[in-house]
Symmetry: C2
Subunit: 233 residues, 2 copies
């Protein structure tokens, strides 16, 4: 039975030795068929993983929000012919906070072997470093953009921290980070803790936990830096 390898990439410019097991490179080097979000970044990743790779001999299928379910099934044709394939995410781990999950679901349905490779996840790394509850946590992705709905969503997450003892994790588009941060500080109780993690695995990595009250005295500059927010009591 052919394998579908889920191949994590870096979260920005960082040395692969820092973030990927060496065996990932070997796995990647023998695959001929890839499902990717963006061909250019996927090529760059493969070239960096294995400078000797013959990029022109590889076949890429492009998976994004516009890909239809029918196209998705077609992507797996090489597997029906007995070939292994790889899914490469734009950043971090495929199928976590990105469109890869649909293609994995089809592979599972067809009884292919799905093999997740180890790599960096901003969700997991920030949770580890937050000091928050790692025995009960939720990642909820993006919050609503509309101000009223957003502040309601933050309140709901904070109440779940207290009612279920569950760490709540969410993200924002980098250029809106500062607005998000202000909103969190406005909505949450002063004693609730917020962990802000930015540029994870990069040289400028920043992961700090403080109470809302403490954060209010000094805000980090998160503008355009990939960031993730965690709240806990």
């Amino acid at each position: 039975m052919p394998n579908l390898f889920l191949i994590p990439t870096s979260l920005g410019e960082s040395d692969f030795n820092r973030i990927l097991p060496s065996q990932n490179t070997e796995t990647v080097s023998v695959l001929r068929y890839f499902i990717v979000e963006d061909v250019r970044t996927a090529r760059r990743f493969l070239k960096k993983a294995n400078p000797a790779i013959d990029i022109d001999s590889l076949t890429f299928f492009i998976l994004n929000q516009h890909t239809s379910p029918e196209e998705l099934s077609d992507f797996l044709k090489p597997m029906f012919n007995g070939n292994d394939m790889g899914v490469i995410s734009e950043a971090g781990c495929p199928a976590i906070a990105d469109p890869g999950a649909d293609v994995v679901a089809i592979a599972q349905k067809n009884n292919f072997i799905v093999v997740p490779l180890v790599g960096p996840s901003s969700i997991l790394l920030s949770l580890m470093a937050s000091g928050f509850n790692g025995q009960n946590f939720a990642f909820v992705g993006y919050l609503p953009i509309q101000p009223d709905e957003r502040s309601k969503a933050i309140k709901k997450l904070e109440s779940r921290v207290y009612s279920e003892n569950q760490t709540q994790i969410f993200i924002e588009t980098p250029y809106r980070n500062m607005k998000m941060l202000e909103e969190i500080l406005k909505v949450c109780q002063p004693s609730t803790r917020l962990c802000i993690a930015a540029d994870i695995t990069l040289d400028t990595e920043y992961i700090k936990t403080k109470t809302m009250k403490e954060w209010k005295t000094q805000l980090p500059d998160l503008n355009k830096r990939p960031s993730i927010f965690l709240i806990y009591k």
Copy 2:
């Protein structure tokens, strides 16, 4: 400012090249002070990471459920003296589904730099390979043991799958896996999907997604195999 490195370990007997970035080994090799759950397994891990390591020159502090908050603070004394330290989990990533989070919280409170290293997490790897929603998911740890409470807990998780479009992830003590599996199949709707992941990153790795109805016709043997359960619509 000294660093507290969070050092993932393997999820069983597996080649480090498969699951850990090579730089983890370098980081580990220069540390002298460690907070660990079990000294014996920590020593074995360090020796495997770096066969040339001088184990007797290292200091270990033991962190488990019996460690008091006062002891915990004491553990970080080497950092107050300017030394970097490492936290090593029993399996997988420190502070995720294990007691490491408390020591991280103290490090954060004292403004130490907390550096999470990349490594295998059964939660994240199983979620990647499940084909389930990776943009909204919750890990809730262990469910109650008492049968009534447990079946209520499973029902609540399933209803959250539908009401919030959120993948629900939980674990069980390996010798109770088969009982848990039977209970899940009894309680959930036939069309709800269950992903069972066992022996993640090991040669016997098994990750399969089916509907409850499909699972009922054939159960995998999970007895004493470290497993994780995921449900989604």
